[in-house]
Amino acid sequence: MKFSVLVNEGPYTHQASDTALAFTKAALEKGHEIFRVFFYHDGVNNGTRLTVPPQDDRNLQQMWSDLGAKYKLDLVVCIAAAQRRGILDENEAKRQGKDANNIAPGFRISGLGQLIEAGIEADRLVVFGD
């Protein structure tokens, strides 16, 4: 079956990202397809490569990037939500005249239409949030 996953909160503050990651992994291990993981609201904060969690804690950005690389996942950060919260890739940083970017490997920034498409194309959309 084809799933899409929506992550609405950032890492650490709420459990949403942890649960979404565990769900996504379990679905893949059962042979399901993940059409897309879309990050909205504070969920975009999962996609910064500048996090330095404590050494005895999990690194959620790294875990998403690793899972994405292993299964070739489409990890999409909403552009409008990302701009409000300061998540930029190289192109966006240039376009907005910012002197740095912080997007993590394996994440891409795109529009909200990708969320609607994720709902249309997948058999099930599962949402995680606050």
């Binding site: 929506l6 909205y40 609201h41 409008a80 939500a81 529009g111 909200l112 239409g113 969320l115 609607i116 498409e117 709902g119 249309i120 194309e121 959309l125 949402v127």
Partner: protein, 138 residues
């Protein structure tokens, strides 16, 4: 829509008051972007979500943009199934008179102006939820 393309039933459930958090505004952004995909869209306002539709919202003193007028455009975006839960109004001491008078022009009836909001009871709304392909709650 062409026969081959997918048309799904999308329900957006709005459960939170506006301004205290961004969910109401970012939900509206999804609905407006989603309209371009010509899906079968419904909106439901339940629990504190009914406050999103209050008349006379004035955000000057909190320094935030008043996005209530945007709900007036829903009809133009083809979103005409908009439900408000009666029990949610009752619990808050509100009635339909406290809400904005929103209308849309029905293109199937010579653009006759019709009320956009339909107040329904919890049981009917639960039935609407049970008919969807995709449910997004904000």
């Amino acid at each position: 829509m062409s026969e081959g393309s997918k048309k799904k039933k999308f329900l957006y459930i709005n459960r939170r008051a506006p301004y205290g958090s961004i969910y109401a505004l970012e939900s509206l952004e999804v609905v407006l972007i989603g309209a371009a995909f010509e899906q079968d869209v419904s909106l439901a306002f339940i629990d504190d979500g009914v406050y999103q539709l209050m008349k006379d919202q004035d955000t000057k003193a909190i320094g935030m943009k008043n996005f209530a007028p945007t709900y007036r455009a829903l009809g133009d975006y083809g979103v005409t199934k908009v439900f408000v839960e009666k029990e949610s109004l009752d619990e808050r001491g509100l009635s339909a008179d406290d809400l904005m008078e929103l209308v849309y022009e029905d293109e199937n009836e010579d653009y006759a102006e019709k009320p956009l909001l339909t107040v329904v009871d919890r049981k009917s709304l639960a039935a609407v939820m049970g008919e969807q392909d995709v449910v997004l709650s904000f």
